[in-house]
């Protein structure tokens, strides 16, 4: 709480005035000589308990009335939560979540969560007379923005929405480092976010450091202004895969896309999904029921002359407009290149056969084989699929693979052969290999696999891959979290899993296509389908088409690119990496979209949140977009009301309401 006229608070000792008056008044009691003291003492004794309470209550109300009058004259400012939050610091750091999920908008006032938070912060600063120094943190890649005193946060370009996921741990950490580096004194840190798990990354290693820093900076108060509500209907659309297919007469674009409800309450409704490619537009009715609906292989007929292009899939307007669009790019497949890294000749031979045999005669396929023995670096130019059958790499090669995946490449990791490779203890994409073990084929039959999408999906004709016919004799289990099991053995162990990545794909298969390990090579169909599908998926980005997550490219890379999507939002060149759009540069196409995590409605619960920022002076304020209460406001009225109430109560308690209630005694000859 702060005061617009704090000097009045110097009069707080006046609160003791009623006590002084009371003491003086006791001296001024009119004395009277009294004979019937016996009656008086008895009556006083009988009344002592209630009278004492009443007496203290009256004194307390008088003190309260004086204090309230003083507070009300000093014009106190409180937050919207009735002064639960102090705001006396001269510096205020604002950490703003500008991710797409913060664009959830209230239908009544038209304000998004981000806009509501900014408006309330602006109102708070204005009520404080814009005396605080304001520093804004919006991205770990950007330096802090020192906001001039005459500028509102809402007017800054840095506070506008982006399609980049907010990295809250990095932002908070950056803000605390700034406080330490600048040697700032008492500082308020306001973190405005919708607590989405994707932005808060509760597993981040930065949180312990943040807690330690907060404990070291007792003069820093962290206030989490949260907008976790997700009551309004909202759906997000996302394209998983594009493939351009040429038939005898025309061309058609195959789209795998999904629509996901991100609102808390699931509803069933039919949504018109619009697919826009150039000037042509296709609308498809999609019945949305449950959390997510996936549509694979949706055919969009396009001009046969189109070799490549970009488009947008769009949902009708809902609570959050930021996740209603998804841009995609596509191109006719060129030569599909794959790279196999293996030291085991048996395995590499099988893999080469599977890779070189193209599903289409028109499609050219090239495969290169490399050994880890002489591998200094990987040549991944135009490579669509990397099959790594060796110890998991580290250092420069690992970084190269990560970069490859980040640009849309696909990697299939196979376990290292026991006789050729050391097991190693390295991890890639949060996964690492365990030990080899001989298993009983009966116990390790594959009964469950994902048939609707990904590498083991059914054929376009509806035919099921004979995954259940595979026999596995040796298994090298894969350990890790955040992996999606595409196929699992009857005991629950993973046969094929997919690591979590925003773009590209990383698969881990727990056995090898050798006679000693499995019938993957003998069966052939399953392994062939897996490799060919991975190759097609990887080659789509290698063929001049890139799909990246907003924020993962640098602005300089996009300077020469021409925007091709029909979005009405103007994006300045420096901000291009942060906004979803489709671009073209010659034969190369680029689709920038929000990350997949932005479509996950899961929010960090309050208990977890408190544990993340424990150790310092931290407060959590749960606000709502539709709430009109400001973060600060003049609350002198409350003190005026309190003073009036105290005075009225005091008057009531001191009312001489008992006079005349008893019958007076009369004189006479006999006792009455």
């Amino acid at each position: 709480m702060m005061f617009l006229q704090p000097w009045i608070l110097f009069g707080l000792p006046l609160v003791l005035l009623p006590i002084a008056i009371h003491l003086l008044n006791q001296r001024r009691h009119r004395p009277i000589d009294w004979g019937a003291m016996h009656f008086l003492r008895q009556a006083t004794r009988m009344h002592q308990g209630a009278a004492r309470i009443r007496y203290w209550l009256i004194l307390l109300l008088r003190l309260l009335a004086v204090a309230c009058v003083l507070f009300f004259m000093s014009r106190p400012l409180a937050t919207g939560w009735l002064s639960l939050v102090g705001n006396s610091a001269s510096r205020v750091i604002v950490v703003l979540d500008r991710s797409p999920s913060m664009e959830m908008t209230d239908t009544l006032n038209g304000l998004s969560k981000r806009a509501s938070a900014i408006a309330k912060l602006d109102a708070m600063f204005e009520e404080k007379g814009n005396r605080s120094e304001r520093i804004l943190f919006v991205s770990p890649d950007q330096p802090p923005v020192i906001v001039p005193s005459n500028v509102k946060l809402a007017d800054l370009a840095e506070t506008q929405s982006t399609d980049v996921s907010a990295k809250i741990p990095e932002l908070v950490s950056q803000a605390l480092r700034y406080i330490q580096a600048e040697g700032l004194g008492p500082t308020e840190v306001w973190c405005c976010s919708d607590l989405q798990v994707n932005d808060w990354d509760t597993q981040s290693g930065l949180w312990p450091a943040i807690r330690e820093t907060l404990a070291e900076l007792p003069f820093v108060r962290l206030t989490l202004l949260s907008y976790a509500e997700r009551d309004q209907f909202n759906a997000a659309v996302r394209v998983q895969r594009t493939a351009l297919k040429r038939t005898d007469r025309s061309s058609e674009l195959l789209l795998d896309f999904s629509v996901r409800q991100t609102s808390g309450n699931l509803v069933s409704r039919v949504l018109p999904v619009t697919i826009q490619i150039g000037e042509s537009r296709v609308v498809v009715e999609l019945e949305l029921s449950g959390r997510e609906v996936v549509r694979n292989g949706f055919v969009v007929p396009i001009d046969s002359s189109i070799e490549s292009g970009a488009g947008t899939i769009e949902l009708p307007s809902d609570a959050n407009a930021a996740d209603n669009n998804f841009h995609f790019a596509f191109s006719r497949p060129s030569t599909m290149r794959s790279l196999i890294v293996s030291d085991d000749e048996k395995v590499s031979t099988v893999l080469q056969i599977m890779t070189k045999t193209s599903m289409s005669k028109q499609q050219q396929v090239e495969c290169e084989l490399a050994s880890t023995q002489k591998l200094a670096s990987l040549k991944l130019d135009d490579v669509g699929l990397l099959i790594w059958q060796a110890t998991l790499p580290e250092g420069a090669i690992a970084e190269q693979i990560k970069q490859f995946v980040a640009t849309g490449g696909v990697v299939l990791f196979l376990p290292p052969s026991a006789e050729f490779n050391a097991k190693g203890n390295f991890a890639m994409f949060g996964m690492r290999w365990s030990d080899w073990s001989d298993v009983d084929s009966q116990d390790y039959s594959i009964q469950r696999w994902r048939r609707d999408s990904d590498l083991l999906r059914n054929a376009e004709s509806g035919e099921i891959l004979p995954v259940d016919e595979l026999q596995v004799r040796r298994v090298c289990a894969v350990d890790g979290i955040d992996a999606t099991k595409l196929a699992s053995f009857s005991n629950g162990a993973s046969f094929l899993c997919k690591a979590a990545t925003d773009v590209g794909a990383v698969y881990f298969c727990s056995t090898l296509p050798t006679v000693e390990c499995s019938t993957l090579a003998d069966n052939g169909v399953v392994l062939y389908a897996m490799i060919q599908r991975a190759l097609v998926e990887g080659s789509s980005s290698a063929g001049g088409v890139h799909a990246v997550v907003a924020g993962s490219v640098v602005p300089a890379d996009l300077e020469a690119w021409e925007r091709v999507d029909l979005g009405d939002k103007t994006i300045v060149a420096a901000d291009r990496p942060h906004h979803a759009a489709a671009y073209r540069s010659g034969k190369r196409w680029l689709a920038i979209n929000r990350s997949a995590g932005e479509d996950d409605p899961t929010a960090v619960d309050e208990k977890t949140l408190q544990s993340l920022v424990a150790g310092g002076s931290t407060r959590i304020l749960n606000d709502q977009i539709e709430s009109n209460s400001g973060l600060t406001r003049e609350v002198w009225r409350w003190f005026a009301f309190a003073a009036v109430f105290a005075l009225l109560a005091e008057a009531f308690l001191t009312l001489p309401n008992k006079i005349g209630t008893s019958k007076a005694f009369a004189m006479g000859s006999g006792p009455r």
Partner: protein, 315 residues
């Protein structure tokens, strides 16, 4: 020249001069008087016949009855005797109380300056006036003041000289200290040898249990009892509208109290006190008179005497 006694009001004396003080019970006096006696005597009032027994005075034989019936009967008449009257005057500090409406609030340590309206002054006036009346009609008068230090007992005697002694003693009484009226009454009950009239003049701010025991003691000794209860309307009703400092006239700790707040409790306690007192005086057949500061003493005493004169004498 004799100093005029302030507590003896000529108007009261004049009003009482033509009235008589009667006893409600048979008295055993020392000489003949105007009050009935439990003995047989030579008054004009016939009492009864009884059979002659040898030794009886033959002068009392009813010869007419003997002449008609040849039987010897003695004719007996009531005896008249004088009254032994003893005043018990409360001289405690609380008797200095002076009604606010009359003399203003007293807290100047000088009760004498307001003695014209204090309860003690009125007590002296009552005792003095009745003593004068009793002596005038030939009765004996005594005085006992209930004070632990300056209390003095004057046994009942007749005569103007003795009246002067009583009035002098009344003049000397000053109200101070606690009230020891019950103890004084016990002493009185033992000291008065024969039946008499005991007149108690007090505000009765004492423990009623103790008072009851002392009154029973007096009644046990066949004394006729009169109580003049001097209590002011203010003391009963506590009619003050602001917090005040009550200074104890009997020397106790002063008390700060808000009369408005405690009024109901005060009235309840006073009501209980008066009820208890009523029960005591009814049970012991005591002639009780409550007198406030606003009442005219001449009227009060006059009506008291008239009521007693009208009541039936019991032997």
């Amino acid at each position: 020249m004799t100093k005029p006694r302030s507590f003896l009001d000529p108007k009261i004396i004049a009003k009482l001069a033509h009235q008589t003080l009667e006893s409600r019970r048979a008295m055993i006096g020392s000489v003949s008087g105007r009050h009935s006696s439990p003995m047989r005597g030579s008054s004009l009032e016939f009492a009864q016949y009884r059979k002659y027994v040898p030794g009886d005075d033959t002068r009392r034989l009813d010869w007419r009855v003997w002449g008609r019936s040849d039987r010897s009967y003695i004719k007996e008449f009531e005896a008249d005797t004088n009254l032994r009257m003893c005043f018990a005057v409360d001289a405690s500090g609380s008797m200095n109380y002076c009604a606010k409406s009359e003399g203003g609030t007293l807290n100047n340590g000088n009760a004498e300056s307001h003695s014209g309206s204090s309860k003690l002054h009125r007590a002296k006036s009552i005792a003095g006036s009745l003593a004068w009346l009793a002596v005038k009609q030939g009765d004996a008068v005594g005085l006992s003041t209930s004070h632990p230090t300056n209390g003095k007992d004057i046994p009942p005697r007749r005569g103007a000289r003795h009246l002067k002694l009583v009035l002098d003693q009344l003049d000397l009484i000053k109200g101070e200290g606690d009230c020891d009226l019950p103890a004084r009454l016990h002493t009185l009950a033992e000291r008065i040898p024969r039946r008499g009239l005991v007149v108690i003049v007090s505000d009765l701010f004492v423990d009623l249990e103790e008072l009851s025991r002392s009154l029973k003691h007096l009644r046990h000794r066949k004394h006729d009892l009169v109580i003049f209860h001097l209590i002011d309307a203010e003391e009963l009703n506590l009619p003050f509208g602001q917090p005040m400092k009550f200074v104890d006239l009997e020397g106790g700790q002063p008390l700060l109290a808000d009369p408005v707040v405690i009024l109901n409790n005060y009235h309840r306690i006073v009501g209980d006190y008066l009820s208890q007192l009523k029960e005591i005086v009814s049970k012991l057949e005591i002639d009780y008179r409550r007198i406030g500061s606003d009442q005219n003493l001449a009227d009060v005493l006059s009506s008291f005497l008239a009521a007693r004169a009208g009541s039936r004498k019991r032997r």
